[in-house]
Symmetry: C2
Subunit: 344 residues, 2 copies
Amino acid sequence: MKRKSITSRDVALLAGVSQSAVSRSFSPASSVSEKTRKKVMEAARQLGYRPNTIARSLITRSSRTIAVVTYSLQNPFYAYLLEKASRFLQQQGYHLLLFFAPQNGDFDMVVDDLIRSQVEGVLMLAITLTQHQAAEVADFGIPVVIINRTVEYSGISQVGSDNFQGGYWAGRYLASLGRQRIAYLAGIPESTTNRQREEGFKAGLAAEGQTCFLYDVGHYRYDDACDAARRLFAARQREDMPDALFAANDLMAIAVMETLRDELNLTVPDNVSVVGFDDMAMSAWPSHSLTTLQQPVEQMIARATELLLKHINNPDALPEQLVLPVTPRIRQSTAPTVLSKSTY
Amino acid sequence: MKRKSITSRDVALLAGVSQSAVSRSFSPASSVSEKTRKKVMEAARQLGYRPNTIARSLITRSSRTIAVVTYSLQNPFYAYLLEKASRFLQQQGYHLLLFFAPQNGDFDMVVDDLIRSQVEGVLMLAITLTQHQAAEVADFGIPVVIINRTVEYSGISQVGSDNFQGGYWAGRYLASLGRQRIAYLAGIPESTTNRQREEGFKAGLAAEGQTCFLYDVGHYRYDDACDAARRLFAARQREDMPDALFAANDLMAIAVMETLRDELNLTVPDNVSVVGFDDMAMSAWPSHSLTTLQQPVEQMIARATELLLKHINNPDALPEQLVLPVTPRIRQSTAPTVLSKSTY
DNA sequence: GTGAAAGCGCTAACAG
DNA sequence: CTGTTAGCGCTTTCAC
């Protein structure tokens, strides 16, 4: 933008009014006579004038901008979350500054960048903040809402779903199906969502008198989950491999199913029953038909965005931690164990 | 952001230097003595000072911000495009303003918003601009690059792939497999990508002495494509329904396959061979194993972003229209026709 | 209702 | 190298 731009002064000159009259004409709340506004608008049209948002932000000290921070869009569940939340905020008249968390994990720079950019709020999707980072942003007076991840810092609002309950259900359900060797495929092990799902799962198994048969890590990613599946099912004997698996998200659950069927000649659900977490759109497609824990996406977004707006409009509002219930969706990737020839 | 913020003046006072010394200390290019910078930085740290990006933008007349406009992230191909491009631009030190094209199609407001927000460039993903809109942005001096869609306006740079060739290949390939009733599933009929793919497809069929057997529309969406599949294969007799289908993108191709197998009891590729367009990651998964035309995504992004940066740095650079080659990926969703009992 | 004047927080000459 | 001085384009008192 080197080219000199048309300013309100130029418009004022052409319209034969003062510069402030131009400003008023473009601000719905101000009182201007219909006549003046008309003159101004006409001059503005002729010159192709558009108010400079940056200058306005500087003086009003409000950027009408919200930062959205996300980790990766490879997971359709997050792509969906991002789109829904963004559209809503956009509709509320906010601009959205998009930040991707660097894959090398150097998140401090992003936090710094966030603060400098004068956003009025921050919406974090599946991003784990350290206490330090969370405090830094919050202390700076920028409201933050985290969706689908938590941080041990009560100064920040969080909206998540009941990961523990979901995991618990998965554990009990698979055991109740008669499965004896139930494995867990972790996401990012240290992420709060993973820890909660894992703990819930183990508790659920324990309630049925079982323990976790095998454990591996897939970082919430498709490819990593395929690799994990190869490791988990590497045994020679069928009785040494899992007969069921709970994956910390749908994307990994699907990866496991694909690998099982394509490379390992195992059937789902007969040889292996699989449960995921999220219920992304794709999980309901017939090819996958994945039993999973449905997160209440729409509700999560609604609550998170309204919470964020609340904090923006009222800096004294207290932070809230919301935990929304998940719903089991039983599909065809799980079935009771049947005794067949191949089992013996 | 109502709370009064710490300004460079505050820091100057504490550090015992002038306000401009503070400014210089935070600008890598400026010359400041190590001693001064140290004092300033220490004072800044104490106060928690961060330079105000908005004020900086106003005076430098450069926002270091690029707008990214996208249509929908439901299509993983675009989610991928968005993530890749964004990460690159972010790495180049740009901020990204994210705009979703409204679904009601009222794109003029977004264009206006775009211009007001003082972005230095606009990257459009799969967005169709009218000539008028394109001209409006371009005339305002904001460089625009469109990925994967074209507009009849030579003032704008565009990066796309060879849709016509891709369609042509699909048409010939399916015909060469011995398929006799080849259908086309359109995306958004009036979108340029769709038109080019469709024309190429028809030309390819013509080269093999065939014409398009049936035609339907799926708007590039999964659900719409399922509906279209139901219509396309509604005939009582096998010989009245298609034995092959070319969909204008992978998402729709997959939707068709899912519907065929799950609801219509038709097998892929034997009863129906299917070809898509894009080659998104999911298409290679064993469940789908979709034959498709691979778009050179990485290359498209690389060229588009470098083109955009070029235009930003040199406003006189001429717009370019790039058409990159697509590559057929033959997988298991297509196979030669075999004469089987069920055919007679 | 309207114009004049005073900045928002910062960078960029300009002297020294 | 450093401080002083002008603004960037806009909103917002404040008189009239």
